[in-house]
Structure formats: structure tokens, C-alpha cells
Amino acid sequence: MFVPSVTNPVGDFVREWVPKLAEFLPASLQSDTLNSVVAFLVNALICVVAVCAVNIGSAPILIYMERKVCAHVQCRLGPMRLGWHGTIQTIADVIKMLFKEVYAPSGADKLMFYMAPLIVLIAPFIVCALIPFSRDLVVADVSMGIPMIIAVNGFGVLGILLGGWSSNNKYSLLGALRSGAQMISYEISFAMILLFVVMISGSTNLMSITLGQEGTIFDWWIFKIPVLGFIAFILFFISSTAEMNRAPFDIAEAEQELTGGYHTEYNGTPFAMFYLAEYIALITNSALATTCFLGGFLPPCIGITAIDNVLNMVPGVVWFFAKVYFMIWCYMMVRWTFVRPRVDQLMDFEWKFLLPVNLVLLVVGAAYITIGG
């Protein structure tokens, strides 16, 4: 008999309490199998709710943050009217978005049109489930975390291609093809940087990648391998920006050239889902950068015992989200600082610069590990 289980303190707590509560049920309903199945289902529900809460709950915060960062970069104030410094503005926008009528343009392939936003959301949710938020706070502690991330990234491309094609609009199709080409190209360097991380940490499990950076701040992968770690971090930053279709690599939805890109024809909830997928990808990529390079949930110890003790008192989740939001802030500053390259420049940059540099980085990293490390 297959009895599924989720190993976690929370899971243990549920497994401990479900049999205790089951004693109040009639005797015919009491069995160990039923108890374990119920405990598993409760745990699974908790996992699903947690992933959804982190993802969907972060999106309004990120939208507010994006508006504020953008406004302050451009010497404006941003939303100020609704609530204290405009904090309720995004909630109002979300409510407006959800109550809009949902319709497809005439001649659109209805099935594909409504399936595309769902497919786009697959990858960010799966990646979010793999990320360790604290020492024992991870939904899926699988041994093949990094290959999993590389594998599910393909769904993003697929969703965008389908969304652009099924809209029956040439601007959407153009945007979808552009963004598909871009994402396929940048996926290669994205995967290669992750392979570099796998190589230096010797594991594909995200939890052991994080725990391999235990110690002081200089044990984080970004500093532990001199110069190479920092180069890899910068390359990861660039390729993940392109992977997310964020400016300056947002040729997929360059509004000056393509009206709105692949989601021109979308409105209401499906559009909100595309938007949500973009912001969840921002979170998951920042979380990935944090896990792979910035020590994940580990505190930034500096080697002085008195200070380290204070830093260690702060729970790991707080450190994790502090680093994630720092990364998100970096992505936003980049978005509002750099200009958008042309399509051919973008492709040249990937195939003629990023990819060769990545290959060299892999070889040099291997040489460093075998000779120096």
C-alpha cells in the first residue's frame, strides 16, 4: 500500500493531529489508512495554498513597488491618492480587472485563446514550489531541482506562442514570434549558468545548493569562487531578465512597435493571468538568484561572533525575502535605466556574446575546481 507523506515540521504536526481528531468520528470511519490519506491531502492542500499565497499575494505588492520605483526614477511621486501613499491603488486595479467582461476577438481560436494564459502560469508555479524558503520550509525538496527548472521553462514559450497566434492579430503574432525566438535563445545561457552553479556546488537539489553556502558572507557562491562567481551572477541577471521578457529585453511587447505584443487582444482575467505570470516569474527568478548565488535563507554573517549571533536570531524566511526583494529592486532599476535594444542586436548579444562567454565560464570553472578548489 502506497502511503504518501510530506516531510516537514508542518507535515509532522498535521500527521500527529489527524489521528487525534479522527477519534471523535464514528468507529466505522476509523482506520490508519484513511488517517494517513487524509493527513496527506491536508498537507497537499497546505502546500498548494502556500505556493498560491506567496505567488498571488506578492503580485499586488510588486505592481505597487514597480510603480513607485518607476515614478521615483523619473522624479515623479507615483500613486498617492488611494490610501497611504497610494497603497490601495493596486487592489482597486485588481478588482477592476477581475470584473471586466472576458471576450475573445472574432476569428480567434477559442480553445487556444483561453488555454494560453493557463500554460504560461505552469512554469512559475512549479519553480516556486521547488524553492527553499527556510531550513525546513520547502514544498518539494526534490533531488533534481535544477533540471526541473530548466525543463518547465519551456512552458512559458509555449503559452506565449499560443496566445499570440490564437488572438488572430498580426501584431500579437509578431510579438509572440519575437518573444519565442528570444526566450528559446536566452534559455540556453540561463540553463548554462544554472549548470555552472550545479558544478561548483556539486548538487542539483536547491536545498543542498543553499546549505553548501553556509558560513560567512564570503562562502556565498557569488564570492566563494573569486571573480568567476560574480561574472556568473551578472550573466544570470542578464539572461534571466531576457528570459522574463522584461525591459530592456521586452521586444515581445514593445508598445511603440507592436501595440502590446502577444497579449494585445487579451482583457479581463486572462490578461491578468499573463500579467501575474510575468510578476511571478520576477519573484521566482529573484528567488533563484538568491538561492544560487546570495546564500538563500542564510544570514549574511561576517565572521565576528557577536554580530553573527544577532544575525542568526532573525528567521531564515526574513533573510530570504529581504534578498529576494533586493533582487527585484535591482531588476526594476535595470528596467527603468537601460534602453531597449533592437531585435537583431538582442539576438547577436545572446549568440555571439553571452553563449561563448558562458561556455568559457563553464570550462574555467571546471579548471578552477579541479586545480584550485
Binding site: 500500500m1 502506497f2 502511503v3 504518501p4 490519506v37 481560436d109 480553445l111 487556444m112 488555454m115 526534490v142 533531488s143 533534481m144 533540471p147 526541473m148 530548466i150 525543463a151 518547465v152 521553462n153 519551456g154 512552458f155 514559450v157 509555449l158 506562442l161 499560443l162 497566434w165 503574432l173 509572440a176 514570434l177 519565442g180 528559446i184 534559455e187 540556453i188 542539483t204 539576438m347 549568440w351 555571439k352 553563449l355 561563448p356
Partner: protein, 197 residues
């Protein structure tokens, strides 16, 4: 005439645990999407159903604890092959305007071929002893990435280091070839400069 035609006892005494339920659910989804892949009129829709069929196959591998094969399946097919197919379909003109259909004139031939295939499959699979209740004989962690890599890169007699290296050089060659093909020649660059001036 056919001496071995008698089929062994049907192994229908599956222990109906969670794993079995999961298997049947995934298998049904896989079959339905596979049928839709062939039956749907629009070629792009059939590509999408093909993807779902591949993904459910990967989930089947996951249920069999072959994680690496499952991920390789998703990586190679969903991330690579089918995306390329979708790209090709999108770049073709007049897509979806007239529905494509495959007409097989020899209905009888097709039918007998598939019936023969099903027969051979049943004949091969069912005689396996204890197919339903046997426990896996592979040791724990046999299909994990680590033991996989150690076997793949082993120097010993049962290692695969030479084929692995040959394949990796081949893949590197294709990568470099892709870059070379995408690169502009000097003439093209000069022409472009002239056009801009």
C-alpha cells in the same frame, strides 16, 4: 495452427492504492490527449495535445521513480522539439483557414495493422510473471541523478564515457554551427552599412 495463442490469466488483482489510482488517472489523460492529437482538425491544436500527451508520459515516468527520464522527456520534447514544431506551424501561411485532414484510403489495412500491433503488445506484455504485483528489483536510488552520472561517466567496462564524450562533442559542434549560420558574412555587413548611409 497457433499453438501459443492461449493467453495467461489476466492480472486484474491490482492492489488499488494511491499509486494505482494516480497511474490510471494519468494513463487515461494520456490516451485521451493522444487520441485528440490525431483527431483534432486544427494542426496547431493537435501539436498542443501532443505536448500534453508528452507531459503525461513524463508523469508516468515520475510514478515509476525514473525522475531523470521524466525531466529529459519534458526538456527535450516540450522545451525543444514541440516548440520548434509550433514555430514552424506559426511561420507557415494560411494556417487554420482550411482545416487539414488525413485520409487513409486503405482503411482495412490500417485497421488490421493496428489490431496486429495491439495483439503483439498483449502477447509480449502479459506473459511477464507477476507484472502487477512484483516489487522493483533495482536498488534504492538506482535511477537518481548521481548513480546515473556515475554509470554514464564510468571508466570501467560498463561505463559509457566514450559515447558520452562523442555525443557532447557532437552537441557542441551543432551549437557552434548554429552560431556560424546565424552570423553575417563580411559582405552582408558591408552591404548593410552602405544601405544605412
Amino acid at each position: 495452427m497457433f499453438p501459443n495463442l492461449a493467453l495467461p490469466d489476466m492480472p486484474f488483482t491490482f492492489p488499488l492504492g494511491g499509486m494505482d489510482i494516480a497511474f490510471y488517472a494519468v494513463a487515461i489523460v494520456m490516451l485521451v490527449t493522444a487520441v485528440f492529437t490525431v483527431a483534432v482538425k486544427n494542426i496547431l491544436q493537435s501539436a498542443v495535445f501532443l505536448i500534453f500527451s508528452f507531459v503525461t508520459t513524463a508523469i508516468l515516468y515520475l510514478l515509476l521513480h525514473a525522475e531523470f527520464i521524466a525531466l529529459a522527456q519534458v526538456m527535450a520534447y516540450v522545451g525543444g522539439v514541440v516548440i520548434l514544431v509550433v514555430f514552424t506551424i506559426l511561420l507557415t501561411t494560411h494556417l487554420g483557414e482550411d482545416a487539414f485532414s488525413t485520409k487513409i484510403p486503405r482503411l482495412f489495412a490500417a485497421f488490421s495493422l493496428s489490431a496486429a500491433f495491439v495483439f503483439v503488445m498483449i502477447k509480449c506484455i502479459l506473459p511477464t510473471p507477476d507484472i502487477a504485483v512484483a516489487t522493483p528489483s533495482a536498488p534504492e536510488g538506482y535511477s537518481s541523478l548521481q548513480s546515473f552520472a556515475i554509470r554514464l561517466l564510468g571508466y570501467s567496462q560498463d561505463g559509457f564515457i566514450i559515447p558520452f564524450e562523442v555525443v557532447s562533442v557532437l552537441l557542441l559542434m551543432t551549437l557552434i554551427c548554429a552560431i556560424t549560420v546565424a552570423r553575417k558574412t563580411k559582405d552582408e555587413v558591408e552591404k548593410e552599412k552602405e544601405v544605412r548611409q
